[in-house]
Symmetry: C2
Subunit: 274 residues, 2 copies
Amino acid sequence: MATSTRSSKRQKTGADTAAEADDSMAYKLIYWPGIPGRGEHIRLAFEATGTPYVDVSNKTDAGVNAVMAQISEKNIGDDNNPPPLAPPILQHGDTLLSQTPNILAYLGPKLGLVPDVAEDSAGMYHVNALALTALDGLSNEPHDVHHPIASGAYYEEQKEEALKKAADYRAVRLPKFLSYFERVLSGPASGGGEWLYGGKMTYADLVLFQTLDGVTYAFPKCVGKLRSSGKYEKVFAHYERVKALDKIKSYLASNRRLKYSMGIYRHYPELDDE
Amino acid sequence: MATSTRSSKRQKTGADTAAEADDSMAYKLIYWPGIPGRGEHIRLAFEATGTPYVDVSNKTDAGVNAVMAQISEKNIGDDNNPPPLAPPILQHGDTLLSQTPNILAYLGPKLGLVPDVAEDSAGMYHVNALALTALDGLSNEPHDVHHPIASGAYYEEQKEEALKKAADYRAVRLPKFLSYFERVLSGPASGGGEWLYGGKMTYADLVLFQTLDGVTYAFPKCVGKLRSSGKYEKVFAHYERVKALDKIKSYLASNRRLKYSMGIYRHYPELDDE
């Protein structure tokens, strides 16, 4: 599946080879077209750092087939790579990686989105833990709210159970996670409370921004109440801080930022507060 | 919360200092006492490699208080460490890390449970992805089967929904994940199909072993049928391979291996096949 040029038999000029080498090392994101989804965390890492990338299914002719080929039950991977179970998938040269937090862990040092390992050897692991926690409570759980019984069945088939799970999510789980990140931003390891860890923006900040953005789309009334409660001031200030970053602001205003629809974050009014 | 000796004012001898330094750098696992749970993945990494560690809540006077202090809503962490949301927590010197796959990613290179980065720079990320996938489908989902609506409520309060989710898990999700790992073991990146990646045991193998062990405890009839279907021969051979490793075998026979009870993996006969 890799687009390596190793097997090309055409006689190459020096210029050709340089151009192809550049292309083969470009970052390629393979994710469902048309929705932000889990792929959005990878896009934000690239966008926040001004890193060129190819959004394969949205911006090339391969379209959704790029995803389907990877997750086919016939795909057993290649010499370098196990098969992925699901997108997002990052292709970087001959390497194919899956699992959102794993792709972010790979990109973190390359894009300057984790502390320098020479200065803070545990920093990248703290960032990873924060990202995993945001993904657990503000991405995986909100997905399960609208699909509590069977991820492969329709919402309408499990709406009754979704109503119950949504009530628990709004009353218990969402406040728990917001309260946790409020504590993280209040703690000394945040380095002042502007960013989650070490006084600088990391990919954990981007993940918290994106997950809170998605939860706000899904549960606007509930999040509005929690925000105006004043209990999570640092969390919402952090959200606005990320949103106001020049590169993020431009990205959010561009057509590269896809609209929420029927992905992880869904707005069903009956699952929100009244 | 760290047990660093930096603030000690007592006059030290050389021997004292060496002993304390050793102690402060020992690996300490902070997890709920009495159940294997997510802490088991950390225990297995230590046990499989013969690495000394302290199972704080099971083997020291601190008991469950070691967990409670960490996850207290008053804990904002310290200069080096954000607060953890939940155990397992690894303490290593002044570093405190949470999130199961994150602790494993930290331990992997230290315990020789990932490929050498100089030989295979992407290897540790492939291992991380495989571990994340096993944890998703064979640990988080089985937990949600008995708690589909509210993780903080009793099983009995959500039994009706659990029966529905269990039916989907047994018929759709569990076969999907077993089939995935069968493909991984069939692929060239496994390096022969004995281990998940690169022809050597990594922590992903230990995670797959432990999650399949837990799923087998929870759904013995269903797993028995899937096993005898012959569709997942490589997965079950892999399970037996890990189980037969000398150090794992000794560990499983020891009193350090805790019994499943009311943790992630629960055996409710009504949630299993008939």
